[in-house]
């Protein structure tokens, strides 16, 4: 039985560590949201960080990302339209395309794009700050790091994801119209009918909540992971790796929950 004790200890410690990090992430998300909803938390410094975060997360990649999303959307729409036509189900092509792209693929794609680009950067930055003791130093000096450093990043991330999803979705709707009806305006009533069918209040609210959840996940998880980094330099890459994996897992979980809510 002797060999079992260290094994169980190791497992238990691992499990506790995992539990702790999830708990910390949840706490951080809650505190951030509460702070974000407090008007007094905003000042010039906070706004500056938010704007910079949005600039680096959304503005810089907007043209490239939009082009990429448009190409992917157009190819997928064409595949759906052609396949539907082959089976004599053309009337469903538009609905399927819009549901698939606007409701599912584009938000997820945006979240993954932002995760790869900004979340990893945030995670590294926070981890290094933690390792170098900057965060503790700031807090010792009476600076509310959550309010000045972390919350603005989260807000910037959420707004960025929302903006990217909105722009790429709007473009995709235009592309879907062109792919299905051709470049003319006479079929707008038909298009409107399908839109009315797809976007009811529930779906719209669900899409908004899902996008916000994606935005929250891509910023809160790397920040929480960075804050949980042990103060050893070699732990920085490990922290980023863990953060990314957990982020991917959470994004998929959100998507799965949203699908289950909509279709089950």
């Amino acid at each position: 039985m002797a060999f079992l004790t260290p094994f169980l200890t190791r497992r238990g410690a691992g499990l506790l560590g995992t539990w702790r990090i999830w708990r910390d992430t949840g706490r951080l998300a809650g505190r951030t949201l509460v702070t974000a909803c407090t008007p007094s938390a905003y000042n010039r410094a906070t706004r500056d960080v938010v704007m910079k975060q949005i600039y680096f997360t959304a503005w810089q990649i907007l043209p490239t990302f939009t082009l990429f999303a448009a190409l992917l959307a157009y190819v997928l729409i064409q595949i759906v339209v052609t396949t539907a036509a082959n089976y004599g189900l053309s009337e469903f092509a538009l609905e399927v395309s819009v549901r698939m792209l606007v409701l599912e693929i584009l938000p997820l794609l945006t979240a993954l794009f932002v995760a790869l680009r900004s979340s990893s950067a945030i995670n590294t930055e926070v981890a290094l700050m933690k390792i170098h003791g900057e965060i503790e130093a700031l807090e010792d000096a009476g600076v509310d790091t959550l309010r000045l450093e972390l919350m603005p990043r989260v807000i910037g991330g959420v707004v960025s994801v929302l903006a990217l999803v909105t722009v790429s979705s709007a473009l995709t709707l235009v592309l879907a119209y062109v792919a299905v009806y051709g470049p003319q305006l006479w079929s707008l009533p038909d298009f409107s009918r399908v839109m009315a069918k797809v976007f009811d209040a529930q779906i719209m609210l669900g899409l908004l909540l899902k996008t916000l959840a994606f935005g929250l996940a891509v910023t809160v998880i790397p920040v929480a992971e960075g804050l949980a980094t042990p103060r050893k330099l070699f732990m920085a890459p490990v922290s980023v790796l863990r953060g990314m994996v957990r982020l991917f897992f959470v994004l998929m979980l959100i998507e799965m929950l949203s699908l289950a809510y909509k279709y089950i």
Partner: protein, 340 residues
Amino acid sequence: MERPPVPEPVKRPIVPPLVKNLELKIGLLLSFTLLLIAAFALYVLHARGAFEDTRSLVLIAENAEGINVGMPMTFSGFPIGKVKRLDLGAKGEVRIEMAIPERDARWLKQTSVFLLEKNLLGAAKIKAYSTDLGDAPLPDGETRALLTGDIAQEIPLLVERMKGILTNVQAMTAGESAINRTLGSVATVADRMAGEYGILEGVLGGPEQAMQVVGVLQKTNSLLAHLDGVSLKVDGILAKTDSQVFGPDGVMDQTRQSVAKVNAILGDARDSLRKVDVILANAQTASADVTRITGNVSAATADMARLRADVDDSLRKINHLINEINRKWPFARDVEIRTP
């Protein structure tokens, strides 16, 4: 005492901001995003008919299979309304509440028919049919029956009917069927028609009969030629009759001469009567002069005898004339007419 020199304030280099026009860019991006979201929300509200008046129509169906909320109802293939609510009625019937935009309500009439079409593949469809567009429009909140055109339900029935039809077709195409026999007879007739006498042979059944008909035709032709001659002769006879009755020395001419003679005889008779008048006058004078009468009796008697002879003569002539006329008049009742 010298004061220590005030240290020069540290000159901080003026660091250009990291991003130019950061606020403008972020403002642009955010307002564009908000604009898109608001515009899309408005568009969806418009598409869902939030800004237009609708009138309701309740359709009653047997079951709600394949019908769902938001499903469109089409008229001539165009959507003119959609299912707003599904409900189960008191008697277990399905009440389908439709919302029809005011501008599309004109297609629905009192006599409109509503049909639920279920296909083997694809979604069910609610279709409206208005045969008479001049009819009175359908009022708001009306209740109508939703007829079901379920192809899947019809298939077994269709198969049964098809079996019956196929059996009939089989009987018709069998070797000894009526159609085959009829076709055989038609072939025989057609063969005959191809013979020397054509259709006649086909209709009459053989060349002999056809030959007889042709013979009859030839005889008829010669008979007609004879009739031509006969009619020519009749023409001649009529011409002769004409000349004998109406020509010079014809019956009419002689009659005219006889009438002239009658006139002359009548003149004679008038003369004789005048003479009688004279005699009667003489007799009057005689009665007045009785004495002279007795004296002249012998002479008077002689005159009377002569007068009697004259009257007799006239009467004889008239009698003769009447006989003559009777003889010559061709149309007298008891005169027999003989053909010339």
